[in-house]
Amino acid sequence: MKDLIAKVKSNQMIAENTYMITFVLPESAGDIRGGQFVNLSVGDSSHLLRRPLGICIAEGKEISVCYQLKGEGTKKLSKIKTGDSLNVLLPLGNGFDLSGYKNIAVIGGGVGIFPLIAAIRENIKHKNFYSYIGFRSKSALCLINEFDKCKSLTVTTDDGSYGKSGNAVDAFFEDVQNLNLDAIIACGPPSMLKSLKEKLLKNAIDVPCFVSLEERMGCGVGACLVCVCKKNDGNNARVCKDGPVFNINDVVL
């Protein structure tokens, strides 16, 4: 985990309201695993909290993250130009540990696809991925070429303007009986993860399923206990340090 000043290489729109920012670190931040995230400063002193964003592409010292415009911070971020400096803290969190699994289903919704891309890139040489990714509509579609090397890819849109009409979870359950899965990884809005959990239970599918959670953060490193989620044993876990990736059966969604 390092706190570094990176140089921005590019910062461009990749879909409606969605940007990819690529920056170059002054030194290596060590091994980076899909599902880990960066906490980046939006570059002015009036925004004291950093923004957590899942690492999408990590190639040596060059890192790309993608973000959707939400509030003031991401708007500010979208104004950052090539050559500007960016204060980044990374890599944070645990990431997806896919060791021991061969056939893996990937379920992503909206901005949830970005950390999944990193997990696929890291493991594509040795593993088979079956991907189900959902977007609001065609205009939100991005980076689907990143899924090209998967054994299969199903794209859904809520409004049917591209691919299959509906959501990624439902599309996955249409296929699940035909897949010989060892694990499932998923990231997306809370409602999506909740429905995934319910349907896994209902369909009695007990393949290990790992989900990446989101929560508002203070420190991002595990010190302030701001970002907790509830575990099934009644205790709290820190999304930033104990997560953001959890076994779906261990957490209350």
């Binding site: 002193s45 004291l48 203070g218 420190c219 206990l225 701001v226 970002c227 989620c229 340090k241």
Partner: protein, 303 residues
Amino acid sequence: MADLKVEICGVKLKNPVIAASGTFGFGREYNEIYDISSLGGISTKGLTLEPRQGNPVPRIAEGRSIILNAVGLQNPGVESFIEKDLGFLKSKGVAVIANVAGRTLEDYGNICARLNGLVDFVELNISCPNVKAGGMAFGIRPESIKEVTLISKRALSLTPLMVKLSPNVESIAANAQAAQNGGADCISLINTLTGMVIDIERRKPLIANNTGGVSGAGIKPIAVRMVYEAAHAVKIPVIGMGGIMTGEDAVEFIMAGASAVQVGTANFANANAMPQIIQGLNAWLDRHNIADVKQITGCVKLN
């Protein structure tokens, strides 16, 4: 290189910059980023007798130059701290300040008794509601401040007592004196200011607890004023905090009368904030040819 060493209630600190309670855990995480033995001290997450789960999420929101938090004192309990974390902090050679909270006067007495002789300071967080007095915080009225200080001091024969004042009060000077009269060895201030941030789309407060504690750069002028007033009302040392982001901010608190400072929210904005504040403080002193930080303590002259 100016002399940054300070001594507070007989405890020697290598510099006057201390991590503020609740923002730094027990130091382990930030120690992965830099060697925390460079710090003057560390105030722990608020400890209670029993472990606590804290408030529902979201626990944090942001405003311009401030943040709002309501963690609700989630902590592993004092026994777990003593068993698992105290040794690590001590091995780092920093002053260890155990920040403690209670629901009743007895809680404060008991937790102080447990920590007596084990840490460098006990810091009383008195911004918590007193369940036996209708939920009004211990730290609001001078009478209850004196009472909670007395009972804590009685349990601390070996360890200096630092009473942390709440800013949500009528008179900070009167409250500082109440702590002194109760036997506090030093005081620290300010804790967070109570605030609310509303999500106008949902027409609901942003954090689950509705209200929370405001901290960060935006509260600094309030904190500096209160540190000044407190320092001029008591003879015991004052530790100042509230919105310190840079070495110059630390200088300002020291000039207002603080013998040392604490840094909280700045750690979130910048993980290396504390080493940079120490460096900035030193650089400011060097630039002004001041050989020893203690020369500027309380030096501000009113117009």
